[in-house]
Every structure is written in structure tokens, then in C-alpha cells.
């Protein structure tokens, strides 16, 4: 009964420690580490702990196999976690960077994405002329009714056909999209069958180099330029809206209208104005919100997947660590008993076993994080986006992610070391000495 009570207490202490670890910022760990080092060097109990730790570390080469179990196990957890979360982070970042608060996108009511939406010419004109829409020095509304279609191009990576998004821009598009730069070539000429290719689309799809011909609507179109918009649109091909509409026989209909508002605060007024027009039913949101929403499902899925996988791997690693540390404590039963017979208290022994485990865990965490960073940072991938076409994005191994990974490593090390450490400390001295 007493044993059970002890185990319960240990479990609670471990849970508390892990919770603290999860919540505290990274520099607090540095402070704790500094305090620990000070304690190890300055106090008597600390120096005892230090000498026990040194004995432990010096015998590590003999227990290389067992020690590597902890390191590799934890490296695996951290590596996989960081890689998967970097995928989610990268996709989300690409979409979140697309869009801002002062432009709004208008879709037919009920459509969740551009490709599902449809509106006629009169509707797009009415939307562009609402009073909340900013006008350029010539008095024209900074608005772009746009057409979104899907074309098929082979992917460089698989050779298989994949969907690529083709956007037909309205004439207000260039005033609207001020963040776009031309990297090569020139803009397409309105009315002609010319396309410019986004930077990421160019790297992902075949037949996208300058001068090559792409089949749209049964006719060849020429690539005349490459653009960089530093967001999700880099995965698209752009052309003149009217020319594309004619190639796909869409007439004057468009999928969406994107406008620049005179002021971000005018969004509600804009929505009210649109709602009051009886000729059409549309929804308006800021482009930031629109693209944010699109990343939601996939990023949430990847995050859940990544965390689940990491938790299961962590359980495996934890029990591996427990095994290793219990064995480590067992092989040093005699030494520990002798030390304690000589007067070393239980506390320093607990601390030293914990330090040893945490050092191994930290090593594993650093190795795992380093491998994930080396392989996956800026790793390009693409997946099917909301408009039924490829969105190209880069994995982002951010510092926060790396710190998170290290926290997981320390948490596993903490729990994995706490139980064996307490076992070492509570072992009756006489039992240990009898092993001699």
C-alpha cells in the first residue's frame, strides 16, 4: 500500500514537472540550468550529486548500448514531430501570408472557395462600384473580377498529370496586387494568349519555362514571364481574364471579385452595401480571413496526425528510457549503497540520476531536431488546395518548433529518470551492500 502511495506521488510530481516544462518559455530553462550548476558547485549536497553524476557519466562507455537506446529513441520522437509540424507550419504560413486586411474577396453566397463560386458581369460591375472600394488616380475602382480555372500539367517530381490553377485577372489586378514582382520576362498582354508563371509553379511543373507553350481550352498559350508574389499565388499561372474566359467559353462570367477597400474598417459597411442589393447574393471576407480558412482543415489534420504519432513514439521511447535507467541504477547498486553507507544522502543520488537521464534526453532531442532541420527546412512539397489544384509550399522548421521538440525530449527524460532515481534513493543500504 505504501509502495502504491509512493508511486502515485511520483506520478503527480512527474505530471506537474512536465506541465511546467510545457508552459514555461525557453529562457526559463536556461535560468534553471544555471541555478542547477550553481547548486552543484557550491553546496555540499550539490557536490555530492556532482561526484555521483561524474561516476555515472564515466561508466557510460560501458553502457553505450543502453545509453544509445535513450538517445536514439528520443531523437526519433523529436525528429518525426518537428518534421510533421514543420509541414503543417509551412502550409499554413504560405496561406496566411496570402491576403491582408485591406483587400476583400467577394464570392457567390454559399460558396466556400473561388472555384465553386460564379457571378455574372453585371454583378461584378456592381461590386466594383460600391462606395467602400478604393479608386485609382484615374477614378477607376481598384478591383479585379477574376476567373479561376484548372489546367493539367505533369509534375516534375512524379511525371504524372496534376491540376494547376490558372487565374484570369481583371484590369484592376496590378493596382490591387502591389506585392507582385516580375522575376523574368514581362507581363502578359491583355487580349492575347499569354501567361505568366508563379515562381513555385515553375519549379513544380513541367513545360513552364519562358517561351514554352501550354494548352488551355484547346489552344496553345505562351509563357512570357515569371512572377513572385511571396504567397500562395506563386503556385498559379496568370493570364488576362477576358482571354481565358473566351478560351474556356465562360463569356463574361467570373468566379470572384477582389477589391481594395478604402480602409480596413470599412469591411462591415461593404458587406452591408452588398447585402442591400437585391440583384445578387454574395459573401465578402478579407483576403486574410479567406486564405486563413483554407489552410485550416489541412493544417489541423497534419497537426493532429503529427502529435498523435509523436505521442505514441514518446510512449515507446519513455519505456525504453525507463528500462535503461532502471538497469543503470541496478548495475550501480553496489556503488550507490557504498556511497550512502559513507554518508551520501538520498537527495544527491536522485538528482544525479535525473541529471544523467536529462543529459541523454537532451542529446537525443538535439540530434533529432538537428536532423529534422537539416533535411526538412525549406523542403518543397505540394498538395491539393481548395481550388482543386496544387499548392506548393515549403516546410518551415521554426525556432519555436525546435524549442518545442527539445521540451518533449526533456519531458520524456524527466519522467524516464524520475522513477529510477527515486528507486535508487530509496533502496535500503543493507540490500545494496549485500551484493558485494
Amino acid at each position: 500500500m505504501k509502495r502504491f502511495g509512493w508511486s502515485l506521488v511520483t506520478l503527480l510530481v512527474a505530471a506537474l514537472a512536465v506541465a511546467l516544462l510545457a508552459v514555461l518559455p525557453w529562457w526559463s530553462a536556461a535560468i534553471v540550468a544555471a541555478l542547477l550548476v550553481a547548486w552543484l558547485l557550491a553546496t555540499r549536497a550539490g557536490r555530492q550529486a556532482l561526484s555521483v553524476t561524474q561516476v555515472g557519466i564515466s561508466t557510460m562507455p560501458q553502457r553505450l548500448g543502453a545509453a544509445s537506446v535513450v538517445v536514439v529513441g528520443i531523437a526519433g520522437v523529436v525528429g518525426v514531430l518537428v518534421a510533421l509540424l514543420a509541414m503543417a507550419q509551412g502550409f499554413q504560413a504560405t496561406l496566411q501570408e496570402t491576403g491582408n486586411d485591406d483587400t476583400a474577396i467577394v464570392l457567390r453566397s454559399g460558396s466556400q472557395t473561388e472555384i465553386n463560386s460564379a457571378m455574372d458581369h453585371d454583378t461584378t460591375v456592381a461590386i466594383s462600384n460600391e462606395p467602400q472600394v478604393m479608386r485609382d488616380p484615374q477614378g477607376r475602382p481598384i478591383a479585379s473580377p477574376e476567373l479561376v480555372v484548372v489546367a493539367s500539367l505533369p509534375k516534375k517530381s512524379s511525371g504524372l498529370d496534376a491540376n494547376v490553377e490558372v487565374r484570369g485577372l481583371g484590369q484592376g489586378a496590378w493596382a490591387l496586387r502591389t506585392n507582385v514582382r516580375l522575376l523574368a520576362g514581362r507581363r502578359f498582354t491583355p487580349g492575347l494568349r499569354e501567361l505568366i508563371v508563379g515562381k513555385r509553379a515553375m519549379s513544380e511543373f513541367e513545360h513552364t519555362e519562358l517561351g514554352s507553350k501550354i494548352d488551355l481550352g484547346g489552344q496553345p498559350w505562351t509563357v512570357v514571364g515569371e512572377f513572385d508574389s511571396a504567397d500562395e499565388h506563386d503556385s498559379e499561372l496568370w493570364g488576362d481574364g477576358d482571354a481565358i474566359a473566351s478560351a474556356y467559353r465562360r463569356g463574361e462570367g467570373r468566379n470572384s471579385v477582389t477589391v481594395r477597400l478604402k480602409d480596413p474598417h470599412l469591411l462591415d459597411a461593404f458587406k452591408a452595401a452588398l447585402a442591400s442589393d437585391p440583384r445578387f447574393k454574395v459573401d465578402a471576407t478579407t483576403t486574410r480571413d479567406y486564405y486563413d480558412r483554407q489552410s485550416e482543415l489541412l493544417t489541423r489534420t497534419i497537426r493532429i496526425l503529427g502529435t498523435t504519432v509523436a505521442v505514441i513514439m514518446a510512449i515507446g521511447a519513455l519505456f525504453g528510457a525507463l528500462n535503461t535507467m532502471y538497469a543503470a541504477v541496478a548495475t550501480r547498486t553496489r556503488e550507490i549503497a557504498t556511497l550512502r553507507a559513507m554518508g551520501f544522502r538520498g537527495g544527491p543520488v536522485v538528482v544525479s540520476v535525473l541529471i544523467e537521464t536529462l543529459l541523454l534526453a537532451l542529446a537525443g532531442g538535439i540530434i533529432g531536431a538537428a536532423i529534422a532541420w537539416a533535411i526538412f527546412d525549406h523542403y518543397t512539397a505540394s498538395t491539393l488546395g481548395a481550388n482543386f489544384s496544387q499548392v506548393v509550399f515549403e516546410f518551415r522548421v521554426s525556432p519555436t518548433l525546435l524549442v518545442n521538440g527539445l521540451k518533449w525530449a526533456l519531458a520524456i527524460g524527466l519522467v524516464g529518470g524520475l522513477f529510477p532515481a527515486l528507486r535508487a534513493a530509496r533502496m535500503p543500504v543493507t540490500d545494496g551492500l549485500r551484493e558485494l
Partner: protein, 387 residues
């Protein structure tokens, strides 16, 4: 078999250590079951026995571009084509925008080309005779607790009705089942009549999204595909026809290289597992050298000692692996029940178990090899005198 007791008691000699190791093995195979279920769903997506005879004809530009319905008669006339039907994408959601549906509008003969969708003759007749009739897959119906006879309001995301309303109310007249557990993902589609859509939709009617063509034998596929595409060459609706398999594979590959992701994760997991169990086995054998020596004095041959150690490591993997895979089976069932048929996860079936058992044996042998060799090669006199 008579050695089972010996191997078992040797394994559990150090109970705590063995149980901890088994927990790690359980974790590894739990992951294997979950990830293999996802990988299998993507890999199996097109491998349908009934689909071996089917081709998909879509617009050469992309799947979202429609084709004229006049193609139906012309494809039917192509030599080698046994039957043709078509379908249109509708989409929509049920009650909450989060509940996006896979909804297609189809003509009367659609289900003739999909014999794996089990429907009673009565349900099929009801579909033909009810203008607003709809047929739902069993997994889909289960998710939303639909029963035959229910009126189901669907919110359109693309096609409003002529009056402007986005609500389409359908009458559920039948529920189809798919027998093959590997194809359970196909049980999540909602079908309603193409005619009704054509009449009631504000726009989008009068066309076919894509055609499904049946050939007499799979080996006719290539020839017939070319012949079908030749029908529309140089027209304003050029087509691309490929086998259902190829179509699905290309579609699936657009999501992600699932095989690569799953393979990498499992590679890392099993690498760690081998290290972990290898370490346990090495320790265990090291401790037992004198006992293995005793067995040899009794007359156990070197080969027997080798086999005993290997049996021990395989048993270790087998216990943990079986428990882990069983748990994953339960977990996958629970997830599929809760989140519906569009979750790309196959039930953990016989094939997964076979793969897992092969892994357990392989890893068990790898992990036990060096310790077993050590046990086999020990010299009795040295071992007994403690050298």
C-alpha cells in the same frame, strides 16, 4: 511446442524489464497499424476488381471542365465498349459547412456499371421513378443516421436552384453497400438523378462531368481509350480516357506521397525499436550465460541454444506486436465510426496482420541474431567457471 514453457519463463524472468520492452513494441506496432491503414486507403483507392474493366473519360483540360452529353451515343458506338454512363459533380454540404459531401448526379444506367455497389432491385426502381430520389452509401447514411424514406436537405455550394435557393431536398430511396473491406471508402457517395438536376439547377445542366465506359476485357483498355479520345480530337471538347486505376492513382498522387511519408516514419520507428529490443536481448543473454551453459551440459546442442534465444526474441516481438496491432484495429474502427467514410483509413484486416507478423518475425530474428550466436558459441567450461 514443448519448449514454449521454457522460452516463456525465460522471457519473463525479469518481469519489469520485459514488460517495459513489450510496451515499446506495442507502441511501434500500434503506429504501424494506424499508418498502414492510411497508406492502404490511398494505395488501394483505385484497385477495384470490378473497376478493372472500367475507363474514365474526362475533359483533356481538367476534371472540372464538362463534356457534352452527345458523346454518350458516340462512345457507345466505339468497338469494344460494352456500356457507357456519366456523372456530374454536385458537392454541397449537410447541415453544417463542415460536413462537405461527395455528391454526384447520375443517369438511370449508372449503377449498371458499378456492380460492387449492392442495391436491391426495388431500391433501383424507386430511384428511377422518384424525381427527387437519392441513393446514399451505407457509411455515409450511418454517419448522419439517414434511413430510407427520409427527406434530406442538401445545401449547394456551387449550383443553386432556379429560384435562387441553395437548398435541394432529396428523398432517400436506397442505401448501397460495398462488400470488399478494402473499398469501404467508396461507401460515402450520395447520388441523385441527373434529370432532376438538369431541370432544377440555375446553371450547369445539360452536360456530363465525366464518362465511365466498360470494356469487355482489361486488355482492350488501351485500344478503346485511344479510340474514344479520337472521337473528340481537334474539337472544342477534347477528351482524355484512361483506366479507372490510372485515373485514381493520378488523383491520389496529387494529395501527397503518402507512401513516402508513412514509410519514413515507420522506418524511424522500427530502427529505434530494433535498437531498443536488441539492447534488451543482449542484456538478457549476457546475464544468462551460465544457465545456457547448464543447458549445454544437459545435452542441448549448439543449434538448440541458438533456437531458444531466437525463439525468445521472436516471442517478445510477437506478444508486443499482436497487442499493438489489435489496439490499432480497435482505434481505426472507432475513428472511422466517429469521423465517417471519407477518412482515408482502411480497417486493419488480414493483409495488415500478415505484413505485421512478417515484420515481427523479421525484427525478432534480427534482434536475436547476435545474442543467439553468443549463446551458441559459448564454451561450457569457460562459462561455468565464470570466464
Amino acid at each position: 511446442m514443448k519448449y514454449l514453457h521454457l522460452v516463456w519463463s525465460t522471457l519473463f524472468r525479469r518481469k519489469t524489464r520485459t514488460i517495459f520492452t513489450i510496451v515499446s513494441v506495442i507502441a511501434a506496432f500500434l503506429l504501424f497499424g494506424l499508418l498502414d491503414s492510411v497508406r492502404g486507403a490511398f494505395a488501394n483507392a483505385g484497385h477495384n476488381v470490378a473497376g478493372a474493366n472500367r475507363l474514365i473519360t474526362m475533359s483533356k483540360q481538367s476534371l472540372v471542365v464538362s463534356l457534352p452529353t452527345s458523346l454518350l451515343m458516340r462512345i457507345q458506338a466505339v468497338p469494344g465498349v460494352k456500356a457507357v454512363t456519366y456523372a456530374n459533380w454536385f458537392g454541397g454540404y449537410y447541415q453544417d459547412p463542415k460536413n462537405q459531401l461527395v455528391t454526384e448526379t447520375v443517369p438511370n444506367n449508372y449503377f449498371d456499371l458499378f456492380p460492387e455497389f449492392r442495391l436491391s432491385a426495388a431500391e433501383l426502381r424507386a430511384f428511377h421513378s422518384t424525381r427527387t430520389g437519392a441513393i446514399a452509401g451505407a457509411s455515409l447514411a450511418e454517419r448522419f443516421h439517414w434511413k430510407v424514406g427520409d427527406k434530406i436537405p442538401i445545401q449547394a455550394t456551387i449550383f443553386p436552384q432556379k429560384g435562387g435557393s441553395n437548398t435541394w431536398t432529396l428523398d432517400l430511396v436506397g442505401i448501397y453497400h460495398v462488400a470488399d473491406p478494402n473499398l469501404k471508402g467508396e461507401e460515402g457517395v450520395l447520388f441523385f438523378n441527373w434529370d432532376y438536376f438538369d431541370q432544377a439547377a440555375q446553371f450547369g445542366g445539360g452536360t456530363a462531368g465525366w464518362y465511365i465506359d466498360r470494356v469487355a476485357q482489361p486488355k482492350d483498355a488501351d485500344r478503346v481509350a485511344h479510340a474514344i479520345d479520337a472521337l473528340s480530337a481537334n474539337s472544342d471538347h477534347e477528351t482524355k480516357t484512361q483506366s479507372e486505376d490510372a485515373f485514381t492513382a493520378a488523383f491520389v498522387s496529387q494529395f501527397a506521397d503518402i507512401g513516402l511519408i508513412v514509410g519514413s516514419i515507420m522506418g524511424a520507428v522500427f530502427f529505434t525499436l530494433i535498437l531498443l529490443t536488441g539492447n534488451t536481448m543482449a542484456q538478457a543473454v549476457r546475464e544468462r550465460i551460465p544457465e545456457l551453459a547448464i543447458l549445454k551440459t544437459i545435452g542441448f546442442s549448439n543449434r538448440s541454444v541458438l533456437s531458444l534465444v531466437l525463439a525468445e526474441s521472436v516471442l517478445l516481438l510477437a506478444i508486443g506486436g499482436a497487442v499493438g496491432l489489435a489496439i490499432s484495429g480497435i482505434a481505426v474502427s472507432a475513428i472511422r465510426a466517429k469521423l465517417g467514410p471519407q477518412i482515408p483509413m482502411l480497417p486493419v484486416g488480414g493483409a495488415a496482420w500478415l505484413r505485421a507478423v512478417a515484420l515481427m518475425i523479421a525484427i525478432g530474428l534480427v534482434v536475436g541474431a547476435l545474442p543467439a550466436r553468443r549463446g551458441m558459441q559459448l564454451r561450457i567450461v569457460d562459462a561455468l567457471s565464470g570466464r
